[in-house]
Symmetry: C2
DNA sequence: AAGAAATGTAAAGTATATATTGCATTATAC
DNA sequence: GTATAATGCAATATATACTTTACATTTCTT
């Protein structure tokens, strides 16, 4: 359940969790936990992350419904 | 700052807030407040709403960055 | 191999999303 | 025009996102 698309996009931009956290005005821990799939970010934070990573919501946060909930 | 796209899609499907709430396993109040733009739903809830309304995240929750934050 | 940077993880505290209950108002159907 | 459904709005309670601080481990650079 880790968010591989988000992590991949961050790496693609050669950005550390700390840098992303700053751009998205969150903490490194929060970013780490989201990438680890250990929590459920708010829409605003998702949007901030998208802006920082230059992608849209669907690109990194969409999950197919059949993708049975795993927590 | 009300979420007009979400509301419009719900109406398009002839669904009441109560029905949408049930399908998305939330309460009517929560749905009402999200439509009113009075808070910041979690990603999971956004996804549940998308499934219930048969749209994707970008269709009803994406906001352009220039869309200056209004709360 | 050593030092630095990046990441994982955990405890405690704060802010806020969400639920629950309840009542008032507006729209819809008969 | 009265009943019924749909929505708006508030107060209180609870769950949990997110922060802060801190330390351990892994990865990168030299």
């Amino acid at each position: 359940m880790t968010n591989t698309r988000m992590k991949a996009q961050r790496k693609k931009l050669n950005m550390s969790q700390t840098e992303l956290a700053q751009k998205a005005s969150a903490t490194r821990q929060t970013i780490g936990l989201i990438e680890a799939g250990e929590f459920n970010p708010s829409l605003k934070l998702c949007l901030s992350i998208c802006y920082a990573l230059d992608v849209t919501l669907d690109e990194i946060f969409w999950e197919d419904q059949s993708h049975e909930k795993e927590n």
